[in-house]
């Protein structure tokens, strides 16, 4: 340090160009590692999504260090759009995102307000603006998650109030960047159309994250994770039966990735309970209560008739 610098009062701005700050320490300090680790552990697959989250975390961390040297660079824009098929984990990731942003000090409270068109758009003239603003005020200090955001824009009805809501959102996204992060989510093709007709929205969103579909192996891992969370488990035969079930179900219509898996597991639990109830020996062990057997899975109509269990047409 030169003499001139020494005479200045000590403070964060007076680190010289060669002073070292510890990125590692800063990283440990922010406790963001725990969130990233749970993300890795609890979310199967989703490589591109995790990579992007790591990038964002790194950017915010480096930004924090830069602030030590008084290297100002306005707050980065972190509005995001999550596109992907149903059941690919958009809401779950948004929740984690809120937590990561909170730990890195980008948002003050770190809560997530999940809304859809109904919560933002009013029913008559003059109803939309207060409604949208109320939701925005609730989301301040956290993350506003607009699910199925493309519904906001209805081109077939030019008097639709959705446009008004979009304009208020745009204004807030620009002016209150420090106060909240907006995440728009929806199916890929519909979101593409939404952005095409709202170029202002596209340009204000820095991160377009695409959620890929899960492979059969990933879905199996998800199924096991879901069961473990509810203190269930497959028997070896049950596991094999479910592994057979997944590709069959994937080929059928209305396949909603992890959500379909959860529904299938719920029905398997139902059948398991029924089997235990109908069974002759009523004295059960803890293992009986926890285990999903092959027959619980194989009873699904996916195997016999080739239709999803939920399909009401059959």
């Amino acid at each position: 340090m030169s003499m001139g610098e020494e005479s200045q009062p000590a403070g964060p701005k007076d680190l010289s160009d060669d002073t070292r700050v510890d990125l590692e320490a800063e990283f440990n300090d922010s406790h963001v590692k725990e969130v990233l680790d749970t993300l890795d552990r609890e979310l199967i697959g989703l490589r591109p999504v995790k990579t992007r989250i790591r990038e964002i975390a790194a950017l915010l961390l480096v930004d924090r260090l830069r602030r030590r040297y008084a290297l100002t660079a306005g707050a980065p824009t972190l509005h995001m759009s999550f596109t992907g098929n149903p059941g690919t984990g958009k809401t779950t990731v948004a929740l984690r995102m809120a937590e990561i942003l909170h730990r890195l000090g980008y948002v003050r409270e770190g809560h997530l307000i999940a809304v859809t068109r109904d919560d933002l758009v009013g029913q008559y003239i003059g109803h939309t603006a207060p409604k949208t603003k109320e939701v925005i005020k609730k989301a301040m200090g956290g993350v506003l998650f607009v699910d199925e955001a493309y519904y906001l824009y209805k081109p077939e009805n030019e008097r639709d109030y959705g446009q008004e809501s979009i304009e208020i959102l745009l204004q807030i996204m620009e002016n209150n960047r420090d106060d909240l992060v907006v995440i728009l989510a929806g199916y890929k093709d519909k979101m593409e159309r939404f952005f095409a007709s709202n170029p202002g929205m596209r340009s204000r969103i820095a991160h377009h994250v695409d959620f890929p579909d899960y492979s059969a192996l990933e879905l199996m891992a998800i199924a096991k994770l879901m069961l473990a969370e509810q203190n269930y488990g497959f028997s070896p035969a049950g596991e094999k039966a479910f592994a057979d079930y997944i590709p069959l179900r994937m080929k059928l219509g209305h396949f909603a990735n992890a959500r379909s898996i959860r529904n299938a597991l719920d029905r398997a639990r139902l059948r398991q309970a029924n089997r235990l109830f109908a069974g002759k020996h009523r004295s059960l062990t803890k293992r009986d209560l926890m285990t999903i057997e092959a027959e619980d899975v194989l009873a699904s109509r996916v195997f016999g008739e080739g239709v999803p269990d939920t399909d009401p047409a059959h």
């Binding site: 409270e109 809560h111 005020k137 609730k138 301040m140 200090g141 956290g142 420090d178 106060d179 909240l180």
Partner: protein, 144 residues
Amino acid sequence: MMTNPGNRLTQGQFSFLPDLTDAQITAQIKYALKQGWAIGIEYTDDPHPRNTYWEMFGMPMFDLKDPAGILMEINNCRKTFPNHYVRVTAFDSSQGWETPRMSYIVNRPKKEPGFGLVRQEVDGRQVRYTIHSYATDSPESERY
């Protein structure tokens, strides 16, 4: 009223202090939100102390987490009524009814004429006293 030379209205909390800065207001709101209180913004141009019910500026705000949204509304109100009194009230509903827990002025007219003492002579040469705000001599919304 030489005890209050600037004729500053002294109602609610902090009213004998210099006007709160936005940072101070934010800190106060943060405290209220942490207690789980709802926050309303009200305005008036009738400063009489018995004028308890001021006009509401929008709905009271429930379930907010962060003061930024409320500060935004305060600033909207200030923009709409730059020469009115604006106050922030925090309501506690934990008892089953809404109780004001905090109330303080966040905006006041540039010039506050203050109050005059009014004497009314009644039966038996008795004198009744009341106060009268000079501002309310003009009609509503033309007062300041």
